[in-house]
């Protein structure tokens, strides 16, 4: 598909872009970032912050690059004296009433105002006048509004109006008295995407209550990951400090979630930080007390019992928060042990919540990231929408019982009591693992490399953001070692290898490698129904 291209010069460098591209976007393509506030690629462009001013040859005054489209032969200077004069002036105006309370502002260190003023602003302020005060306003939901810090870019108003399409925010009054507010006390209750306004706010005016005064932006490590909380598979960054997730932010992916994520997924991270983790393999065997063991001992023990179980059939329980690699290794092990059923339970919400302004994005009914991965590998969903039930056959099975990840919260402590071999792999100990012969500690998705498959059939990579506790290891590594012992073939030494093995076994995953997936993901080789059950 050919588009008419326009060639222009930006800061002495030639660039060719499709006709209709704005100067600010054209500049991005050569790595030039023009400072701006009100512009956002996912929202309308009101050109009102006046910060993105650049010098355009032939124009008598500096032009806003967010709405000025490229023209053939145009000469643009983003750092000429004129452009810098324009932006320096605008930045001065921003600081006239700004409280400069960086020492107590959560945005500090991740603040566009700090960055731009530091780079291009005046060294000293010239205002001796008292500053305007608006105070702090609770907008409801997870959002606090510090009016004094607001730069009136109206990104928040436009996000709610254009993207969530719930017109809850507005600008009230006029001129220097104007400020953002809701309809009196109505607030943001009952909206499902308002967390995004904290992301788009370029300063610390809109803050998350959940994150308030928790950690400094510069102390946080950002790790690219995939939201585990529903099957949409929003691309995210996990922000961690002290080996704990402090908050989740969306990561841009125009094929999946654009720049957004829902409030449910964003705030549902405490489970990743749960303490009281399994830290060592436990040899439990019946009702005697567990003893901790090393991996070699534990795995040898499992193999011995497995070989001793002869032709016993296998019933396994997986969970949809496990990665493709983990699930693949489980399937391979079940296969090697003579075959058997693998089931999983998965919570489902009553309804989807679609983001009207970007309707391929929704908080899906399936409240786990990898339901589709499990389905593609032939695993069967059982139980109710509350993720309980469906395990009667497994609970009473007298062959080999394998459980990966599922907390079995609704099952009795007698679970697996008749099994010839019952291995429980999980992050936490469980009452229903009382009869497990071996309890093996595994990692959460946040502590390992791997992939999830979302409801579009898109395989997406995530990276480890935290160190696993104690001796916990990724499930694909543990299960892969067991398979290797049973087959005599070498075990996968990396998640990439584990994924490649999956591709060899399951055609849907064939021909895709980690290199192709990179940070954007790729679709599986088969159509995935979006409707679900």
């Amino acid at each position: 598909m050919s588009q008419e291209l326009v060639t222009l010069t930006i800061d002495g460098r030639e660039v060719s872009v499709p006709k209709g591209t704005t100067i600010i976007e054209a500049a991005k393509q050569i790595g030039t970032r023009v400072p701006h506030y009100c512009y956002h690629p996912g929202l309308s462009s009101p050109a009102m912050c006046r910060l993105c001013l650049v010098e355009v040859g032939g124009a008598p005054k500096p032009m806003p690059s967010c709405v000025t489209t490229v023209a053939e032969g145009q000469v643009v200077k983003t750092e000429s004296e004129r452009a810098l004069w324009g932006r320096r002036g605008v930045l001065e105006f921003y600081l006239v009433n700004h409280p400069l309370d960086c020492p107590i502002c959560d945005a500090s260190g991740a603040c566009d105002l700090q960055d731009h003023v530091h780079a291009e602003g005046r060294e000293h302020g010239r205002s001796y006048e008292p500053k305007r005060v608006f105070g702090r306003d609770d907008f409801g939901g997870d959002v606090l509004f510090y009016g004094d810090r607001c730069v009136m870019c109206t990104r928040c108003v436009r996000f709610m109006s254009e993207v969530e399409q719930e017109d809850r925010l507005t600008v009230v009054d006029r001129g220097a008295r104007s400020i953002i507010d809701t309809f009196y006390e109505e607030g943001l209750e009952g909206t499902y995407w308002h967390g995004n306004i904290v992301d788009v706010c370029p300063v610390g005016a809109l803050l998350s209550k959940d994150f308030l005064h928790k950690a400094r932006a510069w102390d946080l490590e950002h790790t690219p990951s995939i939201c585990p909380n529903c099957s949409q598979g929003c691309n995210i960054d996990l922000h961690t400090r002290d080996n704990l997730v402090q908050r989740i932010k969306p990561r841009e992916n125009l094929d999946v979630n654009a720049w957004w994520m829902c409030d449910y997924g964003r705030l549902e991270y405490e489970w990743i930080n749960r303490g009281d983790r399994l830290e060592a393999p436990l040899v439990r065997g019946g009702s005697t007390a567990s003893r901790a063991a090393g991996w070699s001992d534990a795995l040898s023990g499992v193999l011995e019992r497995a070989r001793g179980a002869g032709n016993a059939s296998v019933k396994a329980v997986a969970w949809p928060f496990a990665s493709n690699e983990d699930l693949a290794a489980l399937a391979a092990l079940v296969d090697r042990l003579g075959g058997g059923e693998i089931v999983y339970r998965s919570a489902r919400a009553a309804e989807e919540r679609v983001l009207k302004g970007f309707p391929t994005l929704a908080r899906r009914r399936d409240l786990a990231a990898n339901r589709v991965g499990a389905d593609l590998m032939g695993m069967e969903r059982v139980g109710g929408d509350d993720a309980s039930g469906g395990l009667d056959a497994v609970a009473a099975h007298d062959g080999i019982v394998l459980v990966l990840g599922d907390a079995l919260a609704d099952q009795s402590p007698d679970f697996g009591g008749y099994a010839a071999l019952y291995v429980y792999l999980g992050t936490h100990d469980a009452p229903a693992a009382a009869h497990a012969d071996f309890v093996l500690p595994v990692t959460t998705f946040a502590e390992q490399e791997g992939t999830f498959t979302n409801l579009q059939g898109r395989v997406q990579r995530f990276w480890p953001a935290m160190a696993p506790p104690g001796m916990a290891r990724p499930a694909w590594l543990v299960l892969g070692a067991l398979v290797a012992e049973l087959t005599g073939a070498p075990a996968p030494r990396s998640a990439a290898e584990a994924f490649a093995r999956l591709g060899q076994r399951v055609p849907a995953f064939g021909g895709i490698g980690y290199a192709e997936l990179s940070a954007r993901g790729a679709l599986v080789n088969q159509t995935v129904s979006l409707a679900g059950d």
Binding site: A47, M48, R50, P62, E129, G175, A176, S178
Partner: protein, 430 residues
């Protein structure tokens, strides 16, 4: 009749019936030849009408002075989507009071002008956006529009011509920024009156996204006369580049303030001394703002040299704007008046663009502090430099309008500012 102030030097084209209550009646208007121009226009093609107005050289009387016929010619010649004519009756520029008088004395002239303009640009609907405070004028205009509908001059199949043109009187709600053409369209659409970025221009995407033209009340009031009498007739008055007559609103320290319709190019000195009976109480002239508060202030010397047309004002370093002549005599406290003007802009700024939102309020704060005797020369430097950052950096020119009085008064009346600072020093305030 004796409208309060008349001068024999006037050329009363559009203000002829100021002070005549009978002019409000549609019967009187028709008896005096009203709506004849509309009939004539219908007998010409729309583009012919536009060419006639272009030939007359009529320039927008709302302040920008853009040639009206040229503006009309920007509209699409084919009607693929509804075209709109918007009459800007949101007169709010300090010093300006001509549109209100036009609306309340001779409303039919305006309505006829709107209908002719609508025909020329192939518009199906005229919105007259009236300032909300003009209750009396709006109701006079409302009766005029009702009369036009009754007599078949507006609505469907006007005068059997096959042309359908609706007229709606829309009332504003108190915002100076809604006198800016895109602010007005925004307000008409039921939004906050925030000006829009141009391009796109109104003729391409205006009110409701449709091709639109915005004209001032005075501009449209002249249209029937140009249609009736021709472009050469209109060019009898004024200058080559600024033809025709203009309503000059004179206010402030003159003996006879009021509206005077004079040929463009009229010398400002004669306007003050002859037409308006001179500066009050025989005081000396100190300063004049010739075009409403948004144009630079000129001192007495510049005023004496000033010719009141678009080019003549530029020559003395100011602009004609809407020709609202504010006269200030020697008793004027210049700092106080500039402070009051800046307060006005700070109050009326829509708040979109940062330089205007923050800059207008900051300028007002500094001006108040100087007026209270707590200013310094450093403040004057800050004002000059900082207001320059407000020029050319915003979506509309309200921001530039803050700079005009501030910079011109500091440059030409610096002693007024310094006097306040010395007063403070002599008062012994630390």
């Amino acid at each position: 009749m004796a409208y309060p102030y008349v001068s024999e030097r006037e050329v009363r084209v559009i203000s002829r019936y100021f002070g005549d209550p009978a002019a409000r009646r549609i019967d009187t208007y028709v008896d005096r030849g009203g709506y004849g121009a509309l009939r004539k226009a219908f007998g010409m093609g729309p583009d012919e009408v536009t060419d006639l107005v272009k030939a007359s050289g009529l320039r927008g009387r709302g302040g920008a002075g853009f040639p009206t016929g040229v503006k009309w010619s920007f509209m699409p010649k084919e009607v693929r989507r509804p075209h709109y004519l918007l009459c800007n009756a949101d007169e709010s520029e300090p010093g300006t009071f001509k549109d209100r008088e036009l609306m309340r004395w001779d409303p039919h002239q305006l309505v006829e002008g709107c209908l002719i303009a609508a025909y020329a640009i192939r518009a199906s609907h005229v919105y007259i956006y009236c300032r909300g405070e003009f209750f009396e004028a709006n109701q006079v205009l409302a009766r005029a529009v009702e009369g036009a509908y009754e007599k078949g001059y507006a609505g469907k199949d006007i005068l059997g011509s096959g042309n359908d043109i609706e007229v709606t009187v829309h009332q504003g709600a108190g915002a100076y920024i809604c006198g800016e053409e895109t602010g007005m369209m925004s307000s008409l659409e039921g939004r906050r009156g925030l000006p829009w970025v141009k391009p796109p221009f109104p003729a391409a995407a205006g009110a409701f996204g449709m091709p639109s033209t915005i004209n001032n009340v005075e501009t449209l009031s002249a249209v029937p006369h140009i249609l009736a009498n021709g472009s050469d007739w209109y060019r009898r008055w004024g200058t080559e580049l600024s033809p025709g007559t203009k309503l000059f609103c004179v206010s402030g320290h003159v003996n006879k303030p009021g509206n005077y319709e004079l040929p463009l190019g009229f010398p400002l000195a004669e306007l003050i001394d002859d037409v308006c009976g001179g500066v009050r109480d025989g005081n000396a002239l100190k300063a004049v703002i010739p075009g409403g508060s948004s144009v630079p202030i000129i001192n007495a010397e510049e005023a004496r040299a000033c010719r009141l047309d678009y080019e003549g004002c530029v020559e003395v370093g100011t602009m004609l704007g809407c020709a609202s002549v504010i006269v200030m005599d020697e008793t004027t406290d210049m700092v106080k008046q500039v402070r009051r003007m800046v307060d006005f802009y700070a109050h009326e700024s829509c708040g979109q663009c940062t330089p205007c939102r923050e800059g207008s309020a900051w300028t007002a704060q500094i001006m108040r502090r100087i007026e209270d005797g707590d200013g310094s020369e450093e403040d004057l430097d800050t004002l000059m430099h900082m207001t320059q950052q407000m020029v050319g950096t915003t979506i509309c020119v309200l921001s530039d309008s803050v700079a005009a009085p501030v910079q011109s008064s500091i440059l030409k009346f610096r002693h007024d500012y310094l006097a306040l600072m010395r007063r403070r020093e002599t008062a012994g305030v630390a």
